[in-house]
């Protein structure tokens, strides 16, 4: 069964995402809102990692071999300046979207298996991923004109 692989993928993606939020927050500490909210969101994602842990354990017993290139890479470093901020936020957006759609995929499988525990986790955590995406979209929309037109 490949669900165990996907639950594992989700677990890893969440950790990668939390790290990436912290990295971007610290890399752009001069933007106080970015710094603060990235850390608030990262703490929220830590909570998801914990909530998923017992499920990973449960499914882990039946784990198949993972296909190559399953996991998305995290961020190596952050950039600087207004355009750098924009790009880093876009990277976060990509990682968060991957998590979002992985929640969906896992949620679908949970439905098929009638795994209530997993469905509960998916339902509550997926909303938070949505919140991350909505903040990122908002912040990117706000930054883009100034960064692309007026910044030197």
């Amino acid at each position: 069964m490949h669900l165990s692989t996907y639950v594992g993928l989700l677990h890893t993606s969440l950790r990668t995402l939390a790290d990436a939020f912290r990295q971007v927050g610290d890399g752009h500490a001069e933007e106080p809102d970015v710094h603060h909210i990235c850390h608030v969101l990262a703490t929220g994602i830590d909570g998801h990692v914990d909530r998923l842990a017992p499920i990973v354990e449960r499914y882990g017993e039946h784990r198949e071999e993972e296909p190559e290139r399953l996991h998305a890479a995290g961020l190596d470093s952050t950039r600087s300046g207004p355009v750098g901020l924009l790009r880093d936020l876009q990277d976060l957006y990509m990682l968060a979207s991957l998590t979002d759609i992985t929640w969906t995929a896992v949620g679908q499988a949970a439905q098929g298996l009638r795994d209530r525990e997993l469905l509960d986790v998916v339902e509550s955590c997926e909303q938070d991923t949505d919140r991350q995406l909505s903040w990122l979209r908002t912040r990117i929309k706000q930054s883009a004109p100034q960064a692309l037109i007026a910044a030197s």
Binding site: D33, H36, R131, R137, T138, Q142, P145, I149, A150, A151
Partner: protein, 797 residues
């Protein structure tokens, strides 16, 4: 009518007796009239040539008054007996501060920077420099190079003209006011909950309530006349119970004790945990008006789920207040017949500002306590004309509470102004003040026009602000009545007329509109802010789609009429008003139109809210992050005239105490001064009443630090420090209070010369994710005793 005048031309000293003589009254009876007057020494009533109608702009109460004029000079002031706001009263700032800047050290000619110094010049030279720079940047970079930072002190007409110039003329989204520091959360919380800005209640609700909750609102010092109104209920039969949320002991919290209410003193930064607990208790104890909630709100289930974990015990631990007090406060809210809530800076300038303020709205919705006499919510302002900045769009919002995210609203404005809709910046929310300063810091905003405000004292983290103002590549225009800490960094300084020297209207925090007439000529070559903005538009040759002048107006009344058209059909409808009508007995509430020809005192009495997706001012935000709710999602929630019960969990504040900085700094006001003392510091009585800043320590902390009353102490955050005398008492352990009015113009000029005293040296560059209001009330500091300078200073009352 109880005249307060005493023989000899003076009134009782209102520095010592801030709220004046009591005129107690019973619930549901009108607040008695008491006319307060103050005339310059040696001037008797009979000497006054004329009394000119106005209203005081020194706090958001907006007390109606008449200005005494003699020989072309302002010589005194008198409250207007018949006015709905103050029933004749004035407070110390209105009496002693509002008209006394007559002449002395005013800016009378424009200044330009020559070889590093500001030198006097004529209007043409000054305006040419501005226009030349403005034009060049418009060509090279475009409108995103321009920022406008304005005030909560101008008149409606001035804000509207500026909004049209910025949005339809230049097309910049970078417009905001210092109202962002003050009233932005009030507006944000109203938009999130009710779908539009606009104060639901009226000050008259004080006359009818059974319980009054003040959340982070030291009304006794910030709105003295309104507090006199509360006191008159407290001294009358059937007084209301007072509940106060404030980390300090104040006159308000003392009243809570006297009336059998509660004083909750949460650790700064924990308001959201406290509010979640109060909401939870109201739900758990079945005090919810289920019918009202079902018919008039959306979001109950989510709210209930979010607050469920905030038991009194858990909130008590986070906020460090007794759990029993939280239960008692919730019970008062849940069981009183008519509850009035007021909210101010203790919430607005703190962590999770909008979320906590929305919880106040939620409490009222849960009990159906809105829109009826005595049952209402007041999301206050500190700045008097802040309401107009918000309505007219000088704070970046779109005029008439229009929604930047709704293309139909943009089209309406484009038609009204006869410009291409694409000119009007609406791709994202308007740039908030702190972001404007950040863009200036990064060099992408290169032209910053500051009018009637003093950011070099009022913004957080002053060392940073001074660095930005000093930047070579930033062209700074400062328009004000006096030289200020900020003007010293300007490239061009424009002398502006002040209150009493120009005509215009303004609206106070409870939507009451007053006309302020011109009483005297401005000094020297000073001009009204409106004339200055219109002159800039003419010189920039700003035109509409057909090549006509974009701003064809020349008088305040013409701008007022244009604004009325802009407000037509919107929640803040002014179409039923006119200068003539405002010359009647009393101020008039908006909306004032065909449906409400005499104005509407309370909004939402019918339980219908402006949340319709085609009408609302905003689609709202996630309260935790500020992420926008999309139009699609907003529509899907089908609010259709129902209010939103919004929720958010508590998160710890961005800066917490630690070993290096073990105390929480909280900043705030003193009764005698208005903001940066630009005006009030120039009134002898007000200056003498509170000439310098201080740091207030709790007795326990003072003892632990070995600090005695009057000792000089150094308060230091990771960003900066002040050195001020200590006062002991009033605060809670672990919290230091420093008033924020003080800068350097009356000591050394623009910056500290070794003895810093501006509270904002220490505050954080952090803001609420939704309202973008800076967090002035939470910073980590350490305290060191310096020495005992001579005799101890007496503590203030």
């Amino acid at each position: 009518m109880a005249q307060q005048l005493v023989p000899g031309g003076g009134m009782p000293d209102r520095i010592a007796d801030v709220w004046g003589t009591r005129t107690p009254h019973d619930r549901d009876t009108p607040w008695p009239v008491r006319v307060d007057t103050h005339l310059e020494e040696g001037v008797a009533e009979g000497d006054v040539d004329r009394w000119v109608r106005s209203a005081c702009v020194l706090c958001s109460n907006g007390c109606a008054c008449d200005i005494a004029v003699r020989d072309g000079r302002m010589v005194g002031i008198r409250g207007r007996a018949g006015d709905v706001v103050n029933h004749g009263r004035l407070g110390p700032k209105g009496l002693y501060g509002s008209w006394q800047w007559n002449g002395a050290d005013r800016l009378t000619r424009p200044l330009v920077r020559e070889g590093g110094r500001l030198v006097e010049t004529g209007w043409d030279t000054a305006m040419d420099r501005i226009v030349e720079r403005s034009r060049r940047l418009m060509e090279e970079i475009g409108p995103l190079s321009h920022g406008f930072y304005t005030s909560g002190q101008l008149f409606l007409e001035e804000y509207y003209a500026l909004a049209v110039i910025g949005k339809a003329g230049l097309g910049t989204p970078h417009m905001d006011g210092n109202t962002r520091l003050c009233t932005a959360t009030a507006a944000a919380a109203l938009k999130e909950t009710f779908g539009s800005d606009g104060q639901p209640g009226t000050y008259t609700d004080i006359d009818s309530c059974d319980a009054i909750f003040l959340y982070g609102h030291n009304m006794a010092e910030t709105q003295t006349v309104l507090w006199a109104r509360v006191l008159d209920r407290l001294y009358g039969p059937r007084p209301p119970v007072v509940v106060a949320v404030d980390p300090r002991r104040t006159r308000v919290t003392e009243a809570a004790g006297r009336t059998g209410g509660v004083h909750l003193a949460p650790l700064p930064g924990t308001n959201q945990a406290l509010m979640n607990c109060l909401v939870r208790e109201v739900i758990e104890n079945g005090w919810v008006d289920r019918e009202y909630v079902a018919a008039h709100t959306v979001g109950f289930e989510e709210l209930a789920a979010t607050v469920a974990p905030y038991t009194p015990e858990r909130a008590a631990e986070i906020c460090r207040v007794p759990a029993g007090d939280l239960r008692r406060a919730a019970e008062i809210f849940g069981t009183s017949d008519r509850v009035l809530s007021t909210v101010l800076q203790g919430f607005y300038q703190s962590h999770q500002a909008t979320a906590a303020s929305c919880q106040v709205n939620n409490l009222h919705l849960l009990r159906g306590q809105i829109g009826r006499p005595g049952g209402g919510v007041m999301q206050m302002n500190g700045q008097p004309t802040a309401q107009n900045t918000r309505e007219c769009g000088a704070d970046g919002d779109l005029p008439g509470f229009r929604n930047w995210n709704n293309p139909r609203h943009i089209d309406e404005l484009a038609r009204l102004w006869n410009v291409d809709p694409l000119t009007i910046p609406h791709w994202a929310p308007p740039t908030h003040a702190m972001q404007i300063w950040r863009y200036a810091e990064q060099g992408s905003i290169r032209f910053l026009w500051i009018s009637a405000t003093n950011p070099a004292v009022s913004l957080p983290e002053l060392p940073r602000v001074r660095d930005i103002l000093r930047r070579e590549d930033l062209f700074v225009v400062v328009q004000d009545g006096f030289r200020t800490e900020t003007s010293e960094y300007a490239d061009v300084v424009l002398p502006a007329a002040l209150w009493g020297e120009k005509q215009g209207t303004f609206t106070n925090a409870d939507r009451t509109v007053h006309l302020s007439e011109k009483a005297v000529e401005p000094p020297g070559e000073a001009r009204s802010d409106l004339d200055i903005f219109l002159d800039y538009a003419r010189r920039m040759d700003l035109r509409d789609r057909d090549g006509g002048p974009l701003v064809p107006w020349s008088s305040p009344e013409e701008v007022f009429r244009a604004w009325q058209e802009c407000s037509r059909g919107r929640p803040c409808d002014y179409t039923g008003l006119s200068y003539e009508k405002l010359r009647g007995d009393s101020g008039i509430h908006w909306p004032c139109n065909d449906q409400y020809p005499d104005g509407r005192d309370r909004l939402y009495a019918d339980g219908i809210f402006p949340t319709d997706p085609d009408f609302c001012e905003a689609y709202g935000h996630d309260l935790l992050t500020g992420g926008d709710v999309t139009p699609e999602r907003y529509r899907a929630a089908r609010p259709d005239g129902r209010a939103h019960l919004k929720a958010a969990e508590y998160t710890p504040p961005p800066e917490t105490t630690g070993e290096d900085h073990p105390y929480v700094l909280t900043t705030g006001r003193t009764v005698y001064h208005f903001h940066t003392r630009t005006k009030t510091g120039r009134s002898r009585r007000l200056r003498d009443a509170a000439p310098g800043p201080w740091a207030e320590l709790s007795p326990g902390d003072a003892a632990a630090l070995g600090v005695a009353e009057g000792d000089l102490v150094r308060i230091e955050s990771p960003r900066g420090a002040v050195e001020v005398p200590a006062r002991i008492g009033r605060g809670r352990d672990g919290v230091v209070f420093v008033p924020f009015h003080y800068g350097y113009w009356d000591t050394s000029g623009a910056a500290p010369d070794g003895r810093p005293r501006a509270a904002n040296e220490m505050t954080l560059t952090e803001w609420d994710p939704v309202s973008k209001q800076p967090v002035f009330k939470v910073a980590a500091v350490r305290v060191t005793r310096l020495h005992t300078p001579g005799a101890p200073r007496p503590a203030a009352k």
